[in-house]
């Protein structure tokens, strides 16, 4: 039935190419989803501004690495530092006052932040689109008739490294332990002498650094850097949800699964099916397991 829709082909090299493209896309989704998960896991905030944070990262990468022409590692360091400071500003300036507010009010305030970032980027960078970044290795090689870009491999490595680092961070460091405690029960954690304010600030800073990394990576694979790249934030939602919004490893698996499914829908059914299929997969997962594949389950008492 489904096959009657599009130009289905059983050619293995085409399918392999789609698989590789899907994995590459999935790696990007995983980076973005990791940012969602970090914030949601500790602060219970669904950050709809993450796409804009990523866009901010990509534009800062343009400024520091292309316009200012800094050394690559120095430039990345400055980029991540700026993003970290920006995360602290977001927490201490805005989100701190919103703790304890209703769920939808917090979602809407992230939308407000997103709107501000979009307007400021338009003012300071203008609506003209820029060429994508080309600082990571640009070549490609062939595997079984399909092309693999070096950039995708680098992205893969960076994502795996980030997840590993965060995993170790949450498991073995004091701050990671504090973050988990605050996520579990903020009042009990505060009673144990943990400062939730500081933990939240660190969370936002970490998420913003992740957005900087994501912007840097996505800036290499997007068609062009303009204001439309914020959409990656919305498109990565299914990935975050499929994996479970509280699971770091889940964001990787969710990202890859959704990326591959989307790429196959894109190849066999047409571009317009990309988002409906991804969100339908998310929908089915939500109906079967409302907290995603590896999400934390909450009990509710009356």
């Amino acid at each position: 039935m489904l096959l009657a829709f599009g130009n289905f082909t059983a050619d293995p090299s085409v399918n392999l190419q789609l698989l590789i493209g899907g994995l590459a896309l999935g790696a990007i989704y995983a980076v973005v989803a990791l940012g969602f998960v970090l914030v949601y896991k500790s602060t219970d905030v669904l950050n709809l501004a993450h796409g804009e944070f990523l866009m901010l990262g990509a534009y800062f990468a343009l400024t520091f690495l292309i316009s200012e022409n800094l050394n690559f590692f120095l430039g990345v360091f400055v980029l991540l530092l700026v993003m970290l400071v920006f995360g602290l500003v977001v927490h201490y300036g805005i989100m701190r006052r919103m703790v304890g507010q209703g769920f939808f009010a917090i979602v809407l305030i992230t939308l407000g932040i997103a709107t501000i970032i979009r307007a400021l980027l338009l003012i300071f960078y203008g609506p003209t689109e820029r060429a994508r970044l080309d600082l990571l290795p640009q070549g490609s090689f062939e595997v079984g008739g399909a092309t693999v870009r070096h950039v995708d491999l680098v992205i893969f490595g960076v994502v795996a490294l980030c997840v590993l680092l965060f995993f170790l961070f949450f498991k073995y460091t004091r701050l990671g332990l504090h973050m988990r405690a605050v996520a579990d029960d903020i009042e009990a954690a505060a009673a144990m002498g943990i400062d939730p304010d500081k933990v939240y600030a660190m969370t936002w800073a970490a998420a913003m650094v992740m957005a900087g990394v994501g912007g840097l990576l996505f800036g290499h694979v997007t068609g062009a850097i303009d204001r439309s790249i914020e959409a990656i934030g919305l498109r990565a939602f299914p990935a975050a949800v499929v994996g479970g919004l509280t699971s770091l490893g889940g964001s990787i698996v969710g990202g890859l699964v959704v990326g591959v499914i989307e790429q196959f829908a894109n190849g066999h059914l047409g571009t317009k099916w990309r988002e409906p299929v991804a969100f339908s997969v998310m929908f089915v997962v939500l109906l079967v397991r409302p907290t995603g594949l590896w999400g934390r389950k909450d009990l509710e008492r009356v």
């Binding site: 669904l46 805005i94 006052r97 919103m98 507010q101 769920f103 939808f104 009010a105 979602v107 809407l108 305030i109 939308l111 407000g112 932040i113 997103a114 709107t115 501000i116 970032i117 979009r118 307007a119 400021l120 338009l122 003012i123 959409a231 919305l234 939602f237 299914p238 949800v241 919004l245 317009k272 099916w273 988002e275 409906p276 969100f279 339908s280 998310m282 929908f283 939500l286 109906l287 409302p290 907290t291 509710e300 009356v302």
Partner: protein, 446 residues
């Protein structure tokens, strides 16, 4: 304790209840005045009309105050739509304003400092359409607590139904498309509300957002199948018109072809205003009845609501169906009013715009939806005027270099500031103002 000793009973003896005629007479006067003024006073200038209007309004307010029920209210009286004299005066004033506004906007009156009067008519009509959609959004998200981002999907559904019923079947019959869209909106809305039975908060938000993308796919397929990528034309031959058997109505003069086409801001106003007012009154009535109280109970805690004997599933689906039906109707109105609808009429930004409207106006308040949409559409106009006319703003080059971007930034900052410091929004400020007014009046004449 006997009845005479009981102070509450004594107080209840001093009750005053106006007759039904007395209760509604101020409204009738307020509604009739502009018509009489408009029909009889052609040779008066604007200021005379304004003076007469204000005099009659003062009389109406006096009567509304005098014919106020006093003493303890019964439950039935307490649940009335307009309970207090203040409520009723504001309602009468609003109704009067709505009836007079188009005549003022259509007159060639020029305010001082080039205030942009002429462009306001289009803005007012857009505000009417958006107020209807935003109020329905607020009914679902604010009152019933069912977080949904599928709002724009129902605007698109309204456009599709308007395209099928209003353009393809009947060649511009908007009157047929409106009930059809309401029906389709209710059915599809109930279906899109099904995830709400299992999901809550965040996950419901994401599921309804998925529905948005599915509806966009349907929209794209429909558009491509019948109209190509240019969008549906609701203007020209497809403009709505008044049927010939209704041409005897006052104020309707058919053109030389014997048709009365609804075009131009003035005629559109008289189509949009009654529909918006009626649908908003309908939603207000839903809120104060049993069904609306059930919505609020489900919002506050659905498990407790089910223990009170509320059918939670029915309540949730009803909220989705009602809201979606009204939104689909506003989608039809927007399609026919704006004239053409393409794919970019229904992007994600439009969902965010509606969210901005209900936040700035005031969350979970129908009044707030109206304030919010007025603010949303008037802000760019005011800003434009300030940039061109106010001397201390005109000289700031930065502002005139980036008008639309700064407009966007203002909206973003407003959302953040209002959510942080004044979560009630404009409706809350209005309420505070009224309280302050009544307090200071009470201090002056105790």
């Amino acid at each position: 304790m006997t009845a005479t000793e009981n102070p509450a009973a004594q107080q209840a003896d001093q009750t005053y209840r106006p007759s039904t005629l007395q209760r509604f007479l101020p409204f009738v006067v307020a509604a009739v005045v502009p018509f009489i003024l408009g029909a009889t006073t052609d040779d008066l200038n604007f200021w005379w009309k304004a003076a007469i209007t204000i005099a009659i309004l003062a009389l109406v307010a006096r009567l509304a105050w005098k014919w106020t029920p006093r003493g303890e209210l019964t439950h039935r009286e307490d649940m009335r739509l307009w309970r207090t004299p203040s409520d009723r005066s504001w309602a009468a004033l609003t109704m009067f304003g709505l009836l007079v506004l188009p005549f003022i906007l259509a007159s060639d009156f020029t305010p001082p400092m080039d205030f942009p009067w002429a462009t306001w008519f289009a803005v007012v009509n857009l505000v009417l359409i958006f107020a209807m959609g935003a109020a329905a959004f607020n009914l679902l998200v604010g009152y019933s607590g069912q977080i949904s981002l599928a709002h724009v999907a129902f605007l698109a559904l309204g456009s599709i139904v308007g395209g099928i019923v209003g353009v393809q079947w009947s060649g511009g019959n908007m009157w047929l498309a409106l009930p059809a869209a309401a029906l389709a909106g209710a059915v599809v809305g109930a279906i899109s509300g099904l995830p709400a039975l299992r999901l809550k908060h965040l996950y419901l938000l994401l599921a309804t957002f998925g529905f948005h993308f599915v509806m966009m796919l349907v929209w794209r397929e429909y558009l491509q199948e019948y109209f190509g990528f240019v969008g549906i034309r609701f203007k020209g031959v497809n403009s709505p018109r008044i049927a010939s058997w209704l041409h005897w109505l006052p104020g309707i003069d058919p053109d030389e072809n014997g048709e009365f086409i609804i075009t131009g801001q003035f005629r559109w106003y008289w189509v949009l205003m009654p529909i918006t007012v009626l649908s908003i009154l309908f939603m207000v009535n839903v809120i104060r009845t049993r069904e609306g109280r059930a919505f609020a109970a489900v919002r506050d805690r659905d498990v407790s609501a089910s223990l009170l004997g509320i059918n939670v599933a029915r309540s949730k689906l009803m909220a989705f169906a009602l809201s979606s039906a009204v939104v689909a109707m506003s989608g039809v109105l927007a399609s026919f009013y704006i004239g053409s609808r393409g794919e970019d009429s229904f992007n994600v930004q439009t969902v965010l715009n509606y969210a901005i409207i209900i936040v700035v106006g005031g969350f979970s308040s129908i009044q707030g939806a109206i304030f919010g949409s007025a603010f949303f559409w008037f802000l760019p106009e005011w800003f434009k005027w300030a940039r061109e006319e106010l001397w201390f703003v005109r000289d700031i080059e930065f502002l005139s270099d980036y008008p639309s971007e700064i407009d966007l930034a203002i909206k973003g900052f407003l959302v953040v500031i209002i959510l942080m410091f004044k979560p009630d929004g404009l409706a809350g400020m209005w309420r505070d103002f009224k309280n302050w007014l009544s307090r200071s009046l009470a201090r002056r004449n105790p």
